[in-house]
């Protein structure tokens, strides 16, 4: 587990938010929605991987 994960998620969040704002201002609501969705899926995959890593650490440490 590394600090890089936090920076990555924050970067994705900021980029997607800015893209969303720009696309909404230029009148492309559908593309803005799709951008938000794609960013969310990527971030959720990262979070799920991190949670799985934590669970395996706890399992191996406490003999669950």
């Amino acid at each position: 587990m590394d600090v890089d994960f936090i920076f990555k998620i924050a970067a994705i969040g900021i980029i997607v938010t800015v893209l969303n704002l720009v696309l909404v201002r230029s009148g492309r609501e559908e593309q803005a929605l799709l951008t938000t969705l794609a960013g969310l899926v990527v971030v959720l995959l990262m979070v799920v991987n991190a949670v799985a890593e934590l669970f395996s650490t706890v399992k191996s440490l406490f003999g669950l």
Binding site: G13, I14, T17, V43, F62, L64
Partner: protein
């Protein structure tokens, strides 16, 4: 541990700052950052604790004392860590109901884990009575 204390506190501050930055416009990323930050610190703490726990269990198994009870206690601690983490994550997102249900599941798991201990105590007590 003391040397890395400042690093960990730095990670805390960074996670909190990013979370606040993203909270206004896109709260879902803010929650993701909170979860990943807590995983980061929890993993660090568990890896620090790994070595002492191994030493204690080796010492116990070498001394010939029954290590079954120690293992059960260790498992209960692990379940508590996971349950606490999940319940806090749910509560952060605003789902207090799911959080309390997760805690209920954790409590039940620990109860089931400690049933053999309870049984042995009961057997001893019944033996005294008879």
């Amino acid at each position: 541990m003391t040397a890395e204390l400042w690093k960990i506190f730095g990670i805390c501050i960074i996670g909190a700052a990013f979370s606040i930055i993203l909270r206004q416009k896109s709260p879902e990323y803010s929650y993701a950052i909170i979860i990943v930050t807590s995983i980061c610190m929890l993993t660090f703490v568990l890896k620090t604790v790994l070595e002492p726990i191994k030493q204690i269990s080796e010492k116990l198994s070498n001394s010939g004392i029954e290590t079954e009870y120690f293992k059960i206690a260790l498992k209960a601690v692990g379940i508590s860590y996971i349950t606490d983490f999940i319940a806090d994550a749910c509560r952060d997102v605003g789902q207090a109901t799911i959080a309390s249900k997760a805690e209920l599941v954790g409590k039940t798991a620990i109860f089931l884990l400690s049933v053999p201990l309870l049984m042995s105590v009961l057997e001893t007590a019944i033996g005294f009575i008879k």
